[in-house]
């Protein structure tokens, strides 16, 4: 690979190798310093959450990862591998060791162990909180290496700087966001770098490293299937465009063999590495590349005439064999109901699949397709630079630049299907924008330089070298102005604005831990809503260790990690029936719900209610998903019963089924007394902005035991079965008055 710089330096070659190597060394030192600074930037821009809030684990899944890491650091790797968790998915339990991607946990556990063996007493939580920022620095450096392989160090540095502060990536890797993606993006970019490096060098050493990096990616994230499909696609592209070389073979074949062997060592993948359709593309291309290699080999040793004969022979035999193999493959694949694809993969191939068949995947907000503004929010100005980058990659088109093009095209598609895959798009967008910016600078600075030289050497050397002639050369004035504009633009718009934007995004939009919420009051004061932790700590202090807590699955991980109580369902949505059972209970009337919960030994029911403070992602807003998921398994729950004329409402117009279901009752119980302005005992819901439909009702089978300060989390206890069964006779007048007296006397809750 001749870097553009050396082409520019062409005329000065005669000035001596010494000055050039000095310059290179100088450039290397500067590049190194810049890289360190980029790493510092990537790390520090993600610390807003710690500064603004506290060093706390965010969101939902990170709590599970944190709990697993705690277990790992306490019990060691073998117990982790064999961990059967009886505190979740009650009563089924979950084999954690065999169902998690252990990469993140092992990474953080290793860091913790190393740091502690150096006598630096960091807690597991601290290590977990800062894992993501550390790995985003690594990811920036990996992006530098990858882009350097494609378009030289200048583009690499730009790409690394952009990746360090692209909002999309920040959103998943702020301090405390201890999720698989935190390390997986680094692993993804690094694997791609090693693939390109192998492709450029043809070295078996890098090919082996590549397989190891792929192994790390498989350990870390289910998104590894992206790698094992993208690389075969690229190989196929190279073969089809006649770019087959031994380097390509070395880059690909060891990866498939070693990578598949290594991947099957990860318990959660296991035999899926050879059995599921996600991996078939790699094997198919593996066969193709061998056929092609053989063809090239035979072509080399045979005369053209003999080769023609051989081709006809091989093609006829090969076709027959291929047909047989394909027929077997199709038969095998067609025998499985989902055609061998997992639900999530099918969702990627057919974006409407989940909403049609798997409500549980469609119900997750990060599985929704993104909206247009989210592209500008998440990758900002990079969205405009990407096309320029693609053009730059075509001049000239190399093996590596075609890979980058393929990467951006596929990731744009995937990000359009699921908003969480925006994260895969972010590195690609940064690499291409880096290439675009650096190419633009290259062209413009070169123009300036050449024009100057031409003016000096106008009489001396009338014929510049051939390579130079083909390069794009702009008029001096135009290029000077363009450079200035670009710098200015870069300073004020690209770098500055992106940075301001990124800093803003990092500080405001993506740093909220979602377990602690804040709001600004009119006078600029800050109000903190710490209701979740309040509720979980209530649970952990006031309930028995073996009590079971039922809630919608969103809060499962947090309940097990923070309250240490057994839950029925959690965010690892592996058992649809169990979730549907909980959904059914939540959408059933009180008595049926009590029976369902009682049969599962549930003691407490936890609901999240935002109607008082206007917290929109509460259970009432998620409720239709509970109905859908529950109805998917238990057909007596029908979605239209909960909708009035197709509209979801909770006011007086709501259907009786809606107003009598458990979720409504638990959410709005006593909320007609909400002690907040604007309500005046009218039961005003601040999220739905409406007056609730049913007020002043009593609970017969549940009793309220705890409601947090802002009413965001409400915990109910199942009443025990009645001690006596009443007779059929209706209460006479005297006994009614007696019993109402009794109610007054038996009042236990001060809020009744």
């Amino acid at each position: 690979m001749a870097s553009p710089e050396s082409a520019v330096n062409g005329p000065t070659m005669t000035a001596g190798a010494a000055s050039k190597s000095l310059r290179n060394a100088f450039g290397g030192v500067i590049a190194f310093i810049i890289l360190v600074l980029i790493g510092v930037l990537a790390f520090s821009i993600r610390l807003f959450s710690v500064i603004k809030y506290e060093s706390v684990i965010h969101e939902f899944d990170p709590y599970f990862n944190y709990r697993v890491t705690q277990f790992l650091s306490k019990n060691g790797i073998y117990d982790f591998w064999n961990w059967f968790d009886d505190r979740t998915w009650y009563p089924l339990g979950r084999v954690i060791g065999g169902t998690v991607y252990p990469g993140l946990t092992l990474t953080a556990g290793t860091i913790w162990k190393v740091v502690n063996s150096l006598n630096i007493p960091l807690s597991v939580e601290t290590v977990c909180v800062f894992t993501a920022p550390i790995f985003s620095a690594f990811a920036s450096w990996a992006a530098y290496l990858l882009t350097k392989e494609v378009k030289g160090p200048g583009a690499g540095l730009t790409a690394a700087a952009l990746l360090a502060m692209v909002p999309s990536y920040i959103s998943r890797s702020v301090a405390g966001s201890y999720d698989n993606e935190a390390v997986a993006i680094f692993a993804l970019v690094f694997t791609f770098y090693l693939y390109i490096k192998t492709l450029n060098t043809g070295s078996l050493f890098y090919a082996t490293l590549n397989a190891l990096a792929y192994f790390y990616m498989v350990c870390s994230w289910g998104g590894y299937t992206f790698i094992i499909n993208l690389i075969p696609m690229h190989v196929l592209l190279c073969i089809v465009t006649g770019r087959y070389s031994s380097r390509l073979y070395i880059a690909y074949a060891p990866l498939v063999v070693l990578g598949t062997l290594l991947a099957s060592l990860v318990p959660v993948v296991g035999f899926n590495a050879v059995l599921t359709s996600e991996h078939f593309a790699s094997f198919l291309v593996f066969i193709i590349i061998h056929v092609v290699a053989l063809a090239y080999y035979i072509k080399g040793i045979l005369s053209p005439k003999m080769f023609k004969v051989a081709v006809t022979l091989v093609v006829s035999v090969g076709l027959a064999v291929c047909c047989a193999v394909i027929a077997i493959l199709i038969a095998v694949v067609a025998s499985s109901p989902t055609k061998g694809w997992s639900g999530r993969s099918l969702t990627l191939l057919d974006p409407t699949y989940a909403s049609k068949y798997i409500p549980i995947i469609a119900s997750v907000s990060e599985h929704q397709p993104p909206t247009w503004p989210s592209y500008f929010m998440d990758i900002n100005v990079l969205a405009f630079l990407v096309p320029a980058g693609i053009i730059a990659c075509f001049m000239p088109l190399t093996d590596s630049s075609s890979f980058v093009i393929l990467y951006i095209v596929t990731s744009v598609y995937f990000s359009g299907v699921m908003v969480r895959l925006m994260l895969v798009l972010a590195p690609a967008a940064c690499i291409l924008s880096g290439i675009a910016l650096s190419e633009a600078f290259n062209v413009l600075t070169r123009s300036i330089k050449n024009r100057k030289k031409e003016k000096e050497n106008v009489e001396k050397k009338p014929t510049p070298s051939k390579t130079e002639k083909r390069l794009l050369v702009l008029p001096l004035e135009a290029s000077v102005i363009a450079v200035l504009l670009l710098v200015l633009l870069g300073a004020f718009y690209v770098v500055f604005s992106v940075q301001v934007h990124c800093v803003w995004a990092a500080a405001e939009a993506y740093s909220a831990p979602s377990i602690v919420l804040t709001s600004h009051s009119n006078d600029g004061g800050l109000h903190v809503f710490d209701d979740f932790r309040e509720a979980y700590s209530w649970l952990s202090h006031n309930t028995d260790v073996d009590d079971k807590v039922a809630s919608w699955w969103d809060y499962g991980y947090q309940t097990t990690a923070m309250a240490n109580r057994t839950v029925l369902v959690d965010n690892n949505t592996w058992n649809n029936t169990h979730i549907a059972t909980v959904g059914t209970a939540m959408s059933s009337p009180e008595k049926q719900a009590w029976e369902i919960f009682h049969s599962l030994d549930v003691k407490y029911v936890l609901v999240v209610f935002g109607g008082v403070v206007g917290y929109p992602s509460d259970d009432i807003n998620k409720f239709l998903w509970m109905v859908r998921i529950g109805g998917g398994v238990f057909p007596h729950i029908k979605e239209p019963d909960y909708l009035r004329d197709g509209q979801y409402r909770i006011d007086a117009q709501a259907t009786p089924t809606m107003l009598n279901c458990l979720m409504y009752k638990l959410s709005y119980f006593r909320s007609d007394f909400i002690p907040i302005h604007k309500t005046d005992g009218k039961g005003f819901d601040r999220v739905r902005r409406t007056e609730i439909g049913k007020k002043h009702f009593k609970l017969t089978h549940f009793e309220e035991v705890f409601t947090t300060h802002h009413w965001m989390v409400r915990i109910y206890k199942l009443k025990p079965q009645r001690n006596r069964i009443r007779g059929k006779t209706k209460k006479s007048k005297s006994s009614r008055s007696v019993s109402s007296k009794r109610d007054v006397r038996g009042k236990r809750n001060p809020w009744h």
Partner: protein
């Protein structure tokens, strides 16, 4: 065996809100203050440990001293260790009942009960003082009372039952709404017609005057030795009073004495204008209820059933040749009251334990396919001591949403029940469950949670014979691959040998890992 106390069962979690089953008075009291009230305090603050509280601690200390000083006085009362009632409050319409029903009362006194007679409208009436119940049982022989005196009302009576105490209610034609509503709350519906009585033109008791057939010689008794005693009640039971019915869905209530098929409930002095609402064996004359907390309730439609007159009278059922010198009333009432006051049919179970075969000590978790042994102790209260309960129908469930194992326990006739079984090939959080509900006996419901885990990675079979062809195939492939590499590479370059060594090491490591996983490669294909 003194350790076999009920509090050992898994009921502690109920302590905060509901009083536990049949607790001793002391425990209940402390549970109330120490548990529920403080439970409220701890809403905002973390639950303080009893030793670190200051103000509540002082209160607690006072109660401890109080209860300790009261201990000698309370020691003869009802407790889980001696479940028979001791102190009984008898509420009467007027004190003449005391002599007219003296046989019944004397039999109670002779069995060691401490009877406290009071008028039902006594203004000082109270069941509890300072949150402690003063009585273990209540007999309501006051059918016509419209309103109890003092602090007593329907709710107080029901709370009394709900905290595990026993109750006898006797009604007759004068039964007030108050008495009827107590019965209704317990699951018994008296005939709504206030003038109706049970009439039986076939099964009436023969008497000198041909009356209106409201004095009934009832002999439709429940077939249960535990309720009615082992000696069969030969003579019919005389009954004159009102009918009641039970809800068919009510699993807690039992008809002890039911009407014959020809009985019906109507006003005897009026002409029947419409079919009576209660007829035949739907009519219950005397019922018992065992509440979920094992409190026992007896409801009779006749107060005269308990009277000396009926007990002493001779009886002949219409159409029956046999004439008895003495009615069955005395035996019936005595036996039912023995059951009612927990002198019979009261079981306790505890010491649920399990262990892996060949090990001592209870494991925290089982593995699938483990062999385990299960033990439970069950004793029956004989009135003054705990005797081993012997039955062949006690079962244990190994339960996870549904029973995976259901085994009948064998007993050593010393109260110890035992069985052994293999843990099913399913992992999850299981429960050992003993659910024992037998007619007349206290219902036992014990459970103990135990997780069952799958095999560890190194617990699988190392080599499966059926997979030998696959092992053979992989080793042959490896061997010929080395041969191939050897001839292709070793001749040209020494480095090739190194590479080959590398491959060899890698393969060994891989195979070793596979061995560790325990699943031979491709065996599931």
């Amino acid at each position: 065996n003194e350790q076999l106390a009920i509090p050992q069962l898994r009921q502690s979690s109920y302590r905060h809100e509901t009083p536990p089953t049949n607790p001793s008075r002391r425990c209940l009291h402390l549970g109330y203050f120490g548990g529920k009230r403080l439970h409220k305090i701890s809403w905002s603050a973390p639950k303080p440990s009893p030793l670190t509280r200051s103000a509540p601690m002082a209160k607690l200390a006072i109660f401890f001293t109080l209860t300790l000083s009261l201990l000698p006085f309370l020691s003869h009362s009802f407790s889980p260790d001696t479940p028979t009632d001791r102190r009984i409050l008898v509420l009467l319409d007027d004190f003449s009942l005391k002599s007219s029903h003296s046989i019944f009362f004397t039999s109670l006194k002779s069995r060691g009960f401490d009877l406290d007679f009071k008028l039902a409208d006594d203004p000082k009436l109270s069941l509890q003082r300072y949150g402690q119940y003063l009585y273990d049982g209540l007999i309501l022989f006051a059918p016509s009372v419209e309103r109890f005196g003092g602090a007593l009302d329907v709710a107080a009576v029901l709370d009394f039952v709900d905290s595990g105490h026993d109750l006898i209610v006797a009604a007759d034609t004068t039964a007030s709404d108050l008495i009827k509503s107590v019965a209704t709350e317990c699951g018994v519906d008296f005939d709504e017609d206030p003038s109706a009585m049970v009439i039986d033109h076939q099964g009436y008791a023969v008497s000198d005057v041909d009356g209106d057939h409201t004095l009934i010689a009832a002999d439709e008794l429940i077939r249960s030795d535990v309720i009615l005693g082992k000696t069969k009640i030969e003579a019919p039971v005389l009954f004159k009073g009102i009918a009641h019915s039970l809800n068919a869905a009510n699993t807690l209530a039992l008809k002890v004495l039911s009407g014959s098929p020809s009985a019906y409930s109507a006003n005897p002095s009026a002409k029947l204008s419409s079919p009576p609402s209660l007829t035949g064996s739907a009519i219950s004359l005397v019922s018992v209820v065992q509440a979920r907390n094992n409190a026992r309730i007896m409801i009779s439609g006749s107060l005269d059933l308990f009277s000396n007159r009926y007990m002493k009278s001779s009886v002949q059922k219409a159409g029956s040749p046999s004439k008895y010198e003495k009615s069955g009333n005395e035996q019936f009432v005595t036996e039912v009251s023995k059951w009612l006051f927990h002198e019979r049919g009261h079981l306790k179970a505890g010491n649920l334990r399990h262990l892996k075969v060949g090990e001592t000590g209870e494991p925290a978790m089982y593995r699938i396919k483990d062999d385990l042994e299960f033990y439970v102790d069950i004793f029956e209260w004989s009135g003054n001591s705990w005797e081993p309960y012997v039955a062949d129908d006690v079962q244990v469930q190994f339960y996870m949403m549904s029973p995976y194992v259901l085994k009948t326990l064998s007993t050593d006739k010393k109260g110890l029940y035992h069985t052994s079984f293999k843990v099913p090939d399913v992992y999850g959080v299981f429960q050992f469950k003993v659910e024992y509900q037998k007619l007349g006996y206290t219902s036992l419901s014990l459970s103990k949670q135990i997780p069952v885990r799958p095999f560890r990675h190194n617990e699988y079979e190392r080599f499966i014979p059926t997979a030998f062809p696959y092992y053979g195939a992989s080793f042959t492939t490896i061997f010929f691959f080395y041969l191939f590499v050897f001839f292709l590479v070793i001749k040209t370059r020494f480095a090739g040998a190194l590479q080959m060594a590398g491959f060899f090491i890698f393969s060994v490591v891989y195979l070793y890992n596979n061995r560790m996983v325990g699943r031979p490669p491709f065996s599931i294909l």
